[in-house]
């Protein structure tokens, strides 16, 4: 070992180490240029000079990169002599390459901005990095120096392009002044490795982290392109990796697992629009797919979220979206279900990113905003100025000079128009995954006619092979919430199948013991998140970090690209240890989504997880102040200061726990309720199924046949049979719920059934209260018996059959169906989703029973999403006529004389059609059940403005309520088909089963705490508590009776109502003490310096 001092600090290094490494070990900084960790020292630039004091020798200057560390020497890195020498070096470098950004920066660091000597304007600094790289690492020697002194020149052997160079680009990559050395060597520039994650819109290295949120968040080596793996050269990453984490010898492993069940979720393949030559994708650079555009819009995408054209980076002024690319044509007779909404979303986001002046036109045939909240989103997009044009675009033409694109289209009244766009986005549809046929064969599962996985309406997560379940777009194109529901539903199936071995592979997580911080001064660590450009695009993050360093108690602050990423968690833990931090403050997004993650992180570092505070500088700052960067930065600082005021006062808290009652209450005995009851029972839990009517089945009892020909009556009978035969299920028919008390794990419910009152305990609740068909008031309904709803028609078609349709004397009858009755209007603005498939189903039934009967369907948008589209095609092929009307011109039903007449304005023909009708069928919408309100109050869960239950998160938590232990499925959530109800019911059972599987539950720590000394038992807080968690108690104390209150910890939600009502400071919420909140308010009122 060699011992020396650097700036008077003792250092120990191994023999053979260069001075530079020894210096760096002490944390001292020395500028370098020609130095590279993976290359031999060169000592060419002399920028890294240090002063060496060797015993018995005069002090001398040496290049630290090449001078060896010697025993007993003293090294000084920052003397005036050193600085002077570096300044001269910097001046010479700057004189040689005054145009180089890197050299200018290096010179500026040494205090040189203008050299005193004449500039050479060279494009090479003679650092030799490229030469060494090519020789040492690539083994090619395709470039070198010729001549000496003033005649020294970087060139290839004999000054000719040579075949030794394989244009790997390492020389270009390492050159500090940005010279294209490879051009000199072989005349070529390397072909970039395209970044698949950004759909090849930008390039990536051969070793990279694939995307910012990758799990695990580690770089991987691309086996295809890595030079080390393919040619045994390079190996730079191994040389520079401090952690010595690179292992080129790693091989693929073949792993064999013993498993009891398989869930298939291979996803989908986006349609390749190259097949549709007329749209020009692949030929015109400014025609993109929607997924490519999605990446462009993303903060972590190729242009950091700026809306730009890929080829020339021009900011577009007009964007066109073209719908149904690879959907709804004769080869793909299905609708991809998601494109209408994602195009709408992309248009809105593009306008947000690029400004309101960006014009977005969406070319569509029918807007399929059929799911919960979609119609409202579509309406809001129109208000945002997104322009919808009803036309299928036949072809796109490029204007060669501008690379703009011309779209010819047909207006609704048949006029040909053309418009020019800067960018065209093709809304590509979903296709089955690549090689799906081979995969299906390997797995032994059947595919349907569209090559998606075959399932059935009543078994929507079962593949054709036992024990193999499916989820996601692999069964049918679908969006996020439905994928999440189906994933949970397949999990429920697995839970049932494997319930004997459930939990046997779980290894409980082990945490280090908690550090005792009692008596320590606060040492706050602040982590400010860029969130890609979500925050950093508006707020000046480094400035916020700088400011955070000045705040009381803060001993460390830094910024991260994504503070929630895996590597950032490691960093937080490292900094906690390094700086002995005892409070952590993260300034990023919302605690609702990310607090648990950070709490877990600091717990892993040994801190109590409540020593954590969060400032929301995204949702509450950068998102809402998008256009006021300066003021947003000030506000971010305010928010951080306020959070810090509380952070310094945080105390460690402990969670309580509560035992779980392993039974479930399912409210509603319709298809969804029955399914979830059965699934839970099959998972091994007791279920109370409560139905208000005297019979199970709900709306399913009124469904006589399905689009695909399955028989719902049979299935209903089987299902009821299974329920009644299951010993774990207690069915309470004709029942009313009187009260539901308690909370997750321990509910107590009182019901009345047949005049009798019953009470039972359960750990979870599933709400499946259903919905019903709207009873129309319009179109002569109820005043003319020939006007009926779709469900009424279905019943009559089943009972009367073809008799209903017989015209007599060779005359054919005409049936007119009217869509959107009680849907998509002012009173009920949502789409009822079921009615379009229902109308198509009944129209096909009519044509099946009596092919001569004429059927007209008057619609606004036909929303036969997914595979329902093929039945819409079938109906048209069968002669069902479809007439579109506008919401501003609803049809009119007239009932004078013998026949009915329906008048409707056809937009394409601009004619008022007067249709003689024998039957008018109204596609009445779905409306929530009136009982919903009462149930919502009993459970304290919210309804949305349409009266349907509101889930915890529209996309990611579609079966949960924000209230723990309460779940949702079926029509009570939103209108949906039998298949979708079954899926959601399965999803709810999986989520509920997750809770019931546990023996006890951890409780929140941020709950009410009584300060007995200050409580005088006035009981002001008892009544206002919304969770009935507070009770007045008395106990004997000092020969008297002391009154005080007691908190039920499993009921308390920590809402703080008690604390607000208490006049004496006798009760507080842990983590929200009066002084903590007071400090925050004071901090909020402080002015920024």
């Amino acid at each position: 070992m060699i011992r020396l001092t650097v700036n008077k600090q003792n250092v120990e290094v191994e023999e053979g180490t260069k001075l530079l490494s020894a210096v760096e070990k002490t944390g001292a900084k020395v500028p370098t240029l020609c130095h590279h960790k993976a290359l031999t020292p060169y000592g060419a630039c002399r920028l890294c000079v240090v002063e060496v004091h060797a015993p018995g020798r005069p002090p001398s200057l040496h290049a630290s990169c090449s001078y060896p560390a010697l025993d007993g020497i003293d090294v000084l890195t920052d003397t005036d002599r050193v600085k002077r020498a570096r300044r001269v070096v910097a001046e010479l470098l700057l004189a040689r390459c005054p145009d180089s950004e890197v050299i200018r920066r290096i010179a500026a660091e040494q205090g040189v901005t203008e050299p005193r000597i004449r500039s050479k304007n060279d494009d090479c600094v003679y650092c030799g990095l490229c030469v060494r790289m090519c020789e040492e690492r690539m083994g090619r020697s395709a470039i070198g120096f010729s001549g000496r002194g003033p005649r020294k020149k970087l060139e290839s052997p004999f000054g000719k392009h040579n075949e030794k160079c394989w244009t790997c680009g390492a020389c270009n990559f390492v050159c500090p002044v940005g010279k294209k050395v490879s051009v000199l060597a072989s005349g070529g520039v390397p072909i970039p490795i395209l970044n698949e994650y950004n759909f090849n819109l930008d390039a990536r290295p051969a070793v990279s982290i694939l995307y910012p949120q990758a799990v695990p968040n580690k770089p991987v080596i691309d086996k295809e392109t890595c030079l080390r793996l393919n040619h045994e050269v390079c190996g730079i990453c191994e040389a520079v990796c401090e952690a010595k984490a690179i292992d080129y010898k790693k091989e693929d492993e073949r792993v064999t697992l013993d498993i009891g069940a398989v869930i298939l979720s291979p996803g989908f393949e986006p349609f390749d629009p190259r097949i549709k030559d007329e749209l020009g994708y692949g030929r015109y650079p400014n025609v993109l797919t929607s997924l490519e555009f999605e990446r462009i819009l993303s903060a972590s995408g190729p242009f950091s979220g700026k809306v730009q054209r890929p080829a020339d980076r021009k900011v577009p002024e007009r964007i066109a979206f073209i719908q149904c690319v690879g959907s709804r044509d004769n080869e793909r007779d299905y609708c991809s279900s998601v494109c209408c909404m994602y195009a709408t979303k992309e248009a809105i986001i593009a306008k947000e990113h690029a400004g309101e002046d960006l014009s977005c036109d969406i070319f569509f045939m029918d807007i399929r905003a059929y799911s919960k909240g979609f119609e409202a989103y579509f309406e809001s997009a129109k208000k945002h100025g997104v322009n919808y044009i009803r036309c299928r675009v036949a072809s796109i033409e490029e204007i060669p000079e501008t690379k703009n694109l011309k779209i010819h289209y047909l207006t609704e009244d048949d006029r040909k128009v053309s418009r020019e766009y800067d960018l065209v986005v093709l809304s590509v549809g979903m296709q089955p995954p690549k090689n799906v046929d081979g995969m299906a064969k390997t797995l032994g599962v059947e595919l349907n006619e569209f090559h998606f996985c075959k399932t059935s309406v009543f078994h929507p997560v079962d593949s054709s092979r036992d024990g193999i379940y499916v989820a996601g777009p692999f069964t049918e194109p679908k969006d996020i919430p439905e994928t999440v529901m189906q994933a949970s539903a397949s999990a429920s199936k697995v839970l049932s199948l494997l319930h004997d071995v459930k939990g046997s592979l779980i290894r409980p997580k082990e945490y280090p013991p908690e550090t005792d911080i009692e008596g320590q001064d606060p040492r706050v660590g602040v982590f400010v998140c860029h969130c890609g450009t979500n925050i950093a695009g508006v707020v000046n993050v480094p400035e916020v970090v700088e400011y955070a360093r000045t705040l009381p108690g803060v001993v460390y602050a830094e910024n991260n690209l994504y503070t929630c990423s895996n590597d950032a968690q490691e960093r937080i833990k490292e900094k906690i240890r390094e700086h002995r931090l005892n409070r952590i403050l993260v300034a990023s997004c919302t605690p609702r989504t990310h607090e648990p993650l950070f709490r877990n992180t600091i717990r892993e570092a040994g801190l109590n997880s409540y020593l954590f505070e969060m400032a929301n500088i995204r949702d509450q700052c950068s998102w809402v102040h998008m256009h006021e960067a300066g003021r947003a930065t000030r506000k971010a600082k305010d928010l951080v200061r306020i959070a810090d005021a509380k952070a310094v006062m945080l105390e460690p808290l402990q969670k309580g726990s509560v035992a779980v009652n392993k039974a479930a209450l399912v409210i509603g005995g319709g298809l969804a309720g029955m399914t979830s009851a059965l699934e839970l029972a099959e998972q091994g839990f007791d279920v109370h199924l409560v139905e208000r009517e005297n019979e199970l089945g709900g709306n399913l009892r009124r469904i006589r046949y399905l689009l695909n020909g399955e028989n719902p009556r049979e299935e209903l009978k089987t299902l009821i049979g299974k329920l009644e035969g299951n010993a774990r299920i207690r069915i309470h028919k004709g029942a009313n719920i009187v009260s539901i008390g308690g909370s997750i794990g321990n509910f107590k419910t009182k019901i009345t059934t047949g005049g009798e009152e019953k009470e039972f305990d359960h750990g979870v609740v599933i709400v499946a209260t259903g919905a019903k068909e709207y009873k129309p008031e319009e179109y002569l309904y109820g005043r003319d018996e020939r006007v009926m709803t779709q469900l009424e028609l279905e019943e009559r078609l089943t009972q009367e059959g073809a008799r209903l349709l017989e015209g007599g004397k060779g005359r054919s009858k005409t049936v007119v169906m009217i869509q959107c009755v009680g849907s998509r209007d002012e009173k009920r603005p949502y789409c009822s989703r079921l009615c379009c498939p229902e109308a198509v189903k009944n129209a096909l039934k009519i044509k099946e029973l009596s092919p001569d009967t004429h059927v007209y369907v008057l619609y606004r948008d036909i929303r036969t999403y997914g595979f329902r589209e093929s039945y819409y095609s079938k109906a048209r092929r069968g002669g069902v006529a479809f007439v579109r009307f506008d919401e501003t011109a609803k049809p009119e039903v007239l009932g004078n004389g013998d026949g009915l007449r329906v008048k409707v304005h056809d937009r394409i023909l601009d004619m008022m059609l007067d249709i003689p009708a024998d039957l008018v069928v109204l596609s009445a919408g779905t409306v929530p059940h009136e009982d919903g309100k009462a149930i919502a109050q009993l459970l304290k869960v919210p309804l949305n403005q349409d009266g349907f239950f509101l889930e915890a998160h529209m996309k990611l938590r579609p079966v949960d309520f924000a209230t723990d232990g309460v779940f949702l499925c079926g029509l009570a959530h939103s209108p949906k088909s039998a298949e979708e109800s079954i899926i959601q019911a399965g999803g709810a059972s999986a989520r509920a089963g997750g809770i019931l599987s546990k023996d006890s539950l951890e409780l929140e720590a941020n709950i009410s705490h009584v300060v007995d000394e200050q409580c005088d038992g006035c009981a002001y807080c008892v009544e206002p508590c919304p969770y009935q968690a507070v009770t007045l108690i008395e106990y004997a104390w000092l020969n008297g009776v002391k009154k005080t209150v007691d908190i039920n910890e499993s009921l308390c939600k920590g809402c703080g109502t008690c604390m607000a009502t208490c006049p004496k400071g006798g009760v507080y919420i842990k983590g929200f003490k009066l002084e903590q909140i007071g400090a925050q308010i004071e901090a909020a009122l402080q002015a920024l310096p």
Binding site: E278, C324, R328, D329, N330, M365, C391, R392, A394, S395, H408, Y409, L410, E412, D413, D414, R415, K416, S812, T814, D852, H854, Y856, I862, Y872, S873, R876, R877, G878, G879, A881, F882, V883, R884, A889, K903, H905, D906, R907, I908, L909, D910, M911, M912, L913, D914, I915, P916
Partner: protein
């Protein structure tokens, strides 16, 4: 569309219409009205959008507007729409079917509807006409001329004897169908121009646009607007066919005596060289169409109905027998010539009495007429617009 709804035309719907139309051939009801067809068509204008509009008339049962529309005749069958149609609904075939439907509607006798909707009638009618020719010849000789049976055979079916008197028969065969065709054309005019704004168009406008009809009939200029190289040559071929047919018709109608004779004409005689030209044009045109329909290479020839085959076959057969008569006559084989002439009549008469007034050949009249009437309409509209702007000024 800023017009109030009350101002738009109210149409009584005939729900059975689409079923009726479907009897006339392939009809793409699977259409979801996306408009790709109209968008791809180079012949449509904002005033006459097709195929979507007329197809929708039929799909929805709007009989009146369908009868009024000239659009089906303005289409020249390039088939681009059928190629691009995302539903493969075959708009080109639908337009052809609409033309057959309209032909039947124009025809007051009702025969056209029978021929287009029933294979039995489509075959039976020309066969019956041919049979009548033979019967007429026999009846003439036995009853009118009083010839014994053996003499009929000896005088080659008696045609030789009949030649002098056959002129009136032939003229009847030519002019009666022509009269029916003209009366149907008059009905077409009434349907399409008889109501609405088109009703009051003054005669001067009709006269001013007469040139359009002639130019179209002889040059088929609209076909040139169809895309693709094949349509350049198709225009020439179709013009040739039209010219050949018309020439032959005029020769037969007005110079019949040059044909119905045993006289030998010198080569410079108009009967000979005009006849040769007409024959060559007819044979070339028909053979080309028939070959195309059998090869099914181009979109236009991919989907053919019975009448699309029967017409060129009849014309080719007629030409072949005509050529045979000619060759026999000039070779001095009188008997053979006379027998061949009988066969020629059996084949040719159905073209004139069935195909021309009731069958596919009627489009020879309807298409130019439709182009002409549309030109008249367009002219009237432009005049009206001009007047309105003047008034406004």
């Amino acid at each position: 569309m800023n017009r109030p709804l009350s101002a738009c035309r109210e149409i009584r719907v005939h729900p059975s219409l689409s079923g009726e139309v479907r009897n006339f051939g392939k009809f793409g009801e699977v259409c979801y009205s996306c408009g790709t067809c109209t968008l791809t068509c180079d012949l449509t204008t904002d005033a006459t959008p097709f195929p979507r509009r007329p197809v929708q008339f039929a799909v929805l049962g709007l009989k009146e507007p369908l009868l009024e529309s000239l659009e089906p005749w303005l289409c020249h069958d390039c088939g681009d729409c059928s190629e691009k149609c995302p539903q493969q609904a075959g708009p080109r075939e639908s337009m052809a079917t609409l033309r057959r439907y309209l032909t039947a509607q124009y025809d007051w006798t009702g025969l056209s509807a029978k021929i287009f909707t029933s294979r039995g009638w489509a075959i039976g009618a020309p066969v019956f006409a041919g049979f009548l020719v033979v019967l007429l010849a026999a009846v003439y000789h036995i009853l009118y001329a009083g010839m014994p049976i053996e003499e009929i055979v000896a005088t080659s079916m008696g045609l030789e004897h009949m030649f002098g008197k056959i002129t009136w028969f032939t003229l009847a065969v030519i002019f009666i169908p022509l009269a029916v065709l003209l009366s149907n054309a008059a009905r077409m005019h009434r349907f399409t121009m008889g109501r609405g704004k088109a009703a009051g168009i003054p005669l001067s406008v009709y006269l001013s646009e007469a040139g359009v009809a002639l130019r179209y009939a002889f040059t088929q200029d609209r076909i040139a607007k169809c895309p693709g190289e094949s349509f350049k040559s198709r225009r020439v071929k179709h013009s040739a066919l039209f010219a050949g047919g018309l020439l032959m018709f005029v020769l037969l109608a007005f110079f019949l005596r040059f044909f119905q004779t045993d006289a030998i004409h010198p080569i410079y005689h108009p009967q000979r060289w005009l006849g040769y030209i007409a024959t060559v044009l007819l044979v070339y045109g028909s053979a080309d169409i028939l070959a195309g329909r059998i090869r099914k290479k181009e979109e236009i020839h991919k989907h053919s109905e019975f009448c699309d085959y029967s017409l060129p076959v009849l014309i080719l057969a007629s030409a072949a027998t005509g050529i045979a008569v000619h060759v026999f006559r000039y070779s001095g084989l009188a008997f053979a010539a006379h027998y061949a002439y009988l066969v020629h009549l059996v084949v040719s008469v159905p073209i004139l009495v069935v195909e021309l007034p009731f069958g596919k050949l009627s489009h020879m009249a309807y298409r130019p007429l439709a182009v002409y009437l549309q030109a008249v309409k367009d002219k009237a509209v432009s005049l009206q617009v001009g007047e309105e702007t003047r008034e406004a000024a």
